[in-house]
């Protein structure tokens, strides 16, 4: 009945200890491994035949590839394709984790902010490191717009810096909050069905309403799961495009 219970991390078995902290294999890690296995199976199975006219599995893999490649090319330009492995891995991993979370009794890995923060920081640090490595100090021009009067420049630069640092926050919170809120809503309405069902015939009639709503919400959750993976990928592309072309 507890709508938060589904997000609980359970230790399945301990792996090793660092200092006083036990590092255990959790259900979160288990579902990440399952997602990894699913993606590997899809990709290896799809590319095994390498047919000119694709079969169903190969068509799925080709659609995923074309989708990410088109997004990356249109936002970061043709040279953005050097980041294709990163963007494709992030997109597929988040997509599979999100969709797996809708399955009843499954654990939603992306509903934990530590996971999404790790993804967002990976992208953020890639942008910073690659930007400084490629452009050196010219990367800092990102924060200094041209054609602005000198007396207002410090203010604008401060705002730009804050805007830059707010990126990983919004990047990670968006995915985490969407998954968390959606799954809690589903659980709450599912709980209504069970509670009303305990009140006899009238309760059964009343329970039809939240049941219908749960059905609709499940479809909406599927849409949100796909959409958030897409949004995360496209924002990754936009941020990487800044590392490639830091202005002027």
């Amino acid at each position: 009945m507890d709508p938060i219970h589904q997000f609980e991390i359970k230790n399945l078995f301990p792996i090793f200890r660092i200092g006083g902290t036990e590092i255990a294999f959790t259900n979160s890690a288990l579902f990440m491994l399952i997602a990894l296995a699913l993606i590997l199976m899809l990709m290896l199975g799809a590319t095994r035949s390498r047919a000119l006219v694709p079969g169903r599995l190969q068509a799925v893999a080709e659609i995923c590839y074309e989708f990410v490649a088109d997004t990356l090319r249109s936002t970061a330009g043709p040279e953005g394709m050097k980041f294709f492995p990163l963007v494709f891995s992030i997109f597929m991993f988040i997509l599979v984790l999100n969709v797996m979370g809708i399955v009843p009794y499954a654990f939603t890995v992306t509903s934990h902010i530590i996971i999404t923060v790790a993804f967002a920081l990976l992208v953020f640090l890639t942008v910073v490191v690659y930007g400084f490595w490629r452009h050196g100090l010219r990367f800092l021009k990102l924060f200094v717009p041209s054609g602005i009067p000198i007396y207002i420049l410090p203010l604008v630069t401060a705002i730009e810096v804050l805007s830059f640092f707010s990126r990983p926050v919004s990047h990670s919170v968006r995915l985490f909050a969407n998954m968390l809120a959606g799954h809690i809503t589903l659980k709450v309405f599912g709980g209504f069905v069970v509670m009303l069902g305990g009140f006899g015939l009238l309760g059964w009639l009343g329970a039809a309403l939240p049941l219908a709503l749960t059905t609709v919400l499940t479809a909406l959750e599927l849409l949100v799961a796909l959409l958030q993976a897409y949004v995360f990928a496209i924002l990754t592309c936009i941020y990487l495009s800044d590392a490639l072309h830091p202005g002027h």
Binding site: S146, A158, S163, V173, L223, Q228, L235
Partner: protein, 179 residues
């Protein structure tokens, strides 16, 4: 040198054709009566394979019976049918570009929903980062309310800037590769 070989079963080409086509359509390989359309959208959905095969078989039979003895008796009917098919094809082709037209997004466009989600978090993220930075600077330099005040305001401005950039109201400014 003559061979006195006679086939144990009749295996003229037409019989073979019948046999294999039956075999193909009735169960062995294509097990569905109405297969899903896999191809261009204009071809229509659900071509009935059995119907096609029946037509082919009857055509083959007709060719065996009266081979070019009578000229096409139903020539006007055929030309009318061709004309109708051509009209249908033209109709389908003229309809195709409007179906995938990107100019008019549907009301339930999922990317519009994605933009909505994005805008809401951009503002909050800017304010939160400003507040956090202000708090850290206050703790660090001991200028208690001033860091929070200044950076909360700056963070709010950054959040608004984020939202306007995400909505495409302002150009991406220094981040815009086109400049």
């Amino acid at each position: 040198m003559t061979t006195s070989y006679t086939a144990p079963i009749p295996c003229s080409p037409s019989v073979l054709f019948h046999f294999f086509f039956r075999h193909l359509t009735e169960g062995a390989i294509l097990d569905s009566h109405k297969p899903n359309q896999y191809g261009p959208r204009g071809l229509g959905d659900g071509i009935d394979l059995a119907e096609i095969s029946a037509g082919v078989v009857s055509m083959a039979d007709a060719r065996e019976k009266d081979d070019r003895e009578q000229p096409l008796a139903d020539e006007p009917a055929l030309s009318a049918r061709l004309k109708r098919l051509g009209e249908e094809l033209g109709h389908v082709q003229s309809k195709r570009p409007t179906e995938s037209s990107p100019d008019q997004p549907a009301a339930s466009d999922p990317s519009a929903m994605a933009r909505g989600f994005r805008l809401s978090t951009e503002l909050v993220a800017g304010v939160l980062v400003g507040a956090a930075l202000g708090w850290i600077i206050d703790r660090w330099l001991g200028i208690s309310p001033w860091g929070m005040i200044v950076f909360l305001l700056l963070g709010f401005a950054a959040g608004v800037l984020n939202v306007m950039r995400a909505a495409g109201v302002v150009q991406s400014g220094p981040l815009d590769p086109k400049q």
